[in-house]
Amino acid sequence: MAIMAIPAFLRGPTDPNVTGPQVITSWKLGPLTINLTETVVLEWIVVAVILGLACFLTRNLKVRGVSKRQAVAEMAVETITKLVRDTMGRRWLWFTPYIASVFCFSIFGSLISLFGVRAVTSDFSVLLSWAAVTFLIITWTKIRYGGIGGYLKGFADPMPVMLPINILSEVATPAAMALRHFGNIAGGGIIMMLVYYGLANASHMIGLDIAVFDVGIPAVLSLYFDLFSDFMQAFIFIMLTMVFVSNAGPAEDEASAS
């Protein structure tokens, strides 16, 4: 009997490899090298998907005779608005679009790994840039409410001895946010890769050339590492952003008075 060559895809992963995102092309700009990585291309796809979804959901809105599509859009907007109002207070309501877009980007960027590509959020630079935006907003809020003098004085808050600790905690806030999200998604991805590799090896070991164990069994773990973890991390990222930003401003009481 002629043995057909089995495609590599059906054999499953045969060696565990953990690499960063692939560089597709790179340009030289003087001393700089600009890399077009896998992550950037996937981010474009994610942006296109979110844009398409937003356009699709908000097409011909009506006041009466609400369609199902509009009901979904309204529910999403209402949920996120309520979350921002409950967490940050009424005066921060203008902040909702940013929170919603970070949430969508994080969710879709993580869930894109379900299609067998690298998750956008398992690239540390993505998370670091989001955390840097949060850091800028925190700093801007502090300067806006306390003036630049108040901002600088805040570093020597209880006493001037605390200066290095305060600077450290200022930097640690965005770094910890980025590392947490990155560690969860990248760690989950690596664990899933190891599971696929182990099950493929197990099915080779019992004499099958096709990785039969890779069908279905990893889905149980994928439920946690891909679905639950992605939603949780996106939610936690926006929660922490909201808490840190609203804590940077003054207390709530004068906001409720207005």
């Binding site: 953990v18 967490t87 910890a176 590392l179 947490r180 949780m232 929660m239 922490l240």
Partner: protein, 84 residues
């Protein structure tokens, strides 16, 4: 580098990765405690369950970060092999 030296480094990296995951103990205990307290709070005041759950998740996430740092170190040691 000799084979022996590389083997020792690999063994050390593997042991180090295992030791790094001891960091999982702290967040486990801490999060379990937090979730237990949240259950108590919800049992006492079911109408506040939304706020309690939200706060608990954020607290858990913050408590988890030390465990995640350990995980990152372990993954670096196993897969990137920084010392070979």
């Amino acid at each position: 580098m000799t084979d022996m030296g590389e083997a020792i480094i690999l063994a050390g990296s593997a042991i180090g990765a295992g030791l790094a995951m001891i960091a999982g103990i702290g967040p486990g205990i801490g999060e379990g405690y937090a979730v237990g307290k949240a259950c108590e709070a919800i049992a006492r005041q079911p109408e506040a369950s939304g706020a309690v759950t939200r706060t608990m998740f954020v607290g858990c996430a913050v408590a988890e970060s030390t465990g995640i740092y350990g995980l990152i170190i372990a993954l670096l040691l196993i897969f990137l092999k920084p010392f070979t």
